[in-house]
């Protein structure tokens, strides 16, 4: 029997990259499917390929550069960015779970994209509208994935693993997307967003602490504790917010 030990840091890294990537790719896929069904797949897929190439170039350009930043500074900056990013995700997820913000509905996004595409005149040669919409959808959603992969991957010294997980998730979402086509609204997006938020602030707290020379008890193991604390607290904040909303309504 081969004994394998996987640190909590790796589990959190893989979980955060997988979930962040899946959520963003579902959003991108909704736009691409809408473009493909309305204007044809050729220009939609060309936009997707160009966006993926541009994102790959960004990782290629900034990834190796980040490795040269002193580790303490890198962890402090990355920790801060992840804290802000994670708190933004969690805030939105809490407001959506409490009913104070409309849930992200892929069906509505699909319908809006189709309406926008139908309003634009059909091209006889190159369909710039379809190309640009697919390109922008994939590039803008992918940019958040690139930032997550670069920040988590470089500070954990596991950029290869983070990139591989991101690549595998993109492929997985694409395959599922082809199979389920327009039923992306059944993806439990808010639950996934909450999980990403919890994982990002856990990593953010951990790296900020490391950047400030804090010695976490149990090293990487403390990350698992942070995830647990933040998950429970987030649930508590949702309950508090629901209560506050009900109090005002009555």
């Amino acid at each position: 029997m081969i004994a394998t030990t996987v640190s909590s840091g790796v589990v959190v890294l893989v979980g955060a990259v997988f979930l962040a990537c899946a959520v963003e790719m579902v959003e991108a896929l909704t736009i691409v499917v809408a473009v493909g069904h309305t204007r044809g797949w050729r220009w939609a897929l060309e936009g997707v390929v160009m966006a993926l190439l541009a994102l790959g170039a960004l990782v290629g350009a900034f990834g190796p550069a980040l490795v040269h930043v002193p580790l303490t500074w890198l962890r402090l900056i990355v920790g801060g960015v992840l804290l802000i990013f994670g708190l933004q995700w969690l805030r939105k997820a809490v407001l959506r779970a409490s009913g104070l913000k409309a849930k992200h509905d892929e069906d509505i996004i699909y319908a809006e994209t189709v309406a926008e595409l139908n309003a634009a005149p059909l091209a006889t040669t190159r369909d710039q509208v379809a190309f640009m919409m697919a390109f922008k959808g994939v590039f803008l959603e992918g940019l958040e994935v690139v930032i997550t992969v670069l920040t988590l991957g470089t500070s954990a010294h596991r950029l290869g693993l983070a990139s591989a997980v991101a690549g595998a998730t993109v492929a997985l979402v694409a395959i599922i997307g082809v199979l389920v086509a327009k039923q992306l609204s059944s993806v439990p997006e808010n639950a996934m967003k909450s999980s990403v938020g919890v994982l990002l602030i856990s990593y953010g707290t951990f790296w900020t602490g490391e950047g400030l020379s804090i010695h976490w008890p149990g090293n990487d193991g403390f990350l698992a504790l942070l995830v647990g604390i933040y998950a429970v607290t987030t649930y508590g904040v949702v309950l508090l917010t629901r209560q506050a909303t009900r109090r005002v309504a009555t």
């Binding site: 402090l76 801060g80 960015v81 804290l83 802000i84 990013f85 708190l87 933004q88 969690l90 805030r91 809490v94 407001l95 104070l100 913000k101 940019l143 930032i147 602030i201 953010g204 707290t205 900020t208 602490g209 400030l212 020379s213 804090i214 010695h215 976490w216 008890p217 403390f222 942070l226 604390i229 933040y230 607290t233 987030t234 904040v237 508090l240 917010t241 506050a244 909303t245 005002v248 309504a249």
Partner: protein, 74 residues
């Protein structure tokens, strides 16, 4: 400076501004405050154990503060 570079720099700056500050400036400010407080605690008390507790507590407080701003008013 050439116009293309200037435009690119402007777009780059705008992207990071939207990304880090956007419509939740309180989260940007509170993250800076968390880092400053943790540094001061670490240096002042020469004891990182306090910071291991204070840092997560401040993060939770930031989330609660930002969410509370969106609570409906009576």
């Amino acid at each position: 400076m050439n116009t293309f570079l200037l435009k690119w720099l402007k777009a780059f700056g705008k992207f990071w501004w939207d990304f880090l500050v956007g419509d939740t400036p309180e989260l940007f400010v509170s993250t800076i405050a968390i880092i400053v407080v943790t540094v001061l605690l670490g240096h002042g008390l020469h004891n990182s154990h306090v910071a291991t507790v204070v840092l997560p507590v401040l993060v939770v407080a930031s989330l609660l503060w930002s969410v509370r701003k969106s609570w409906p008013k009576r």
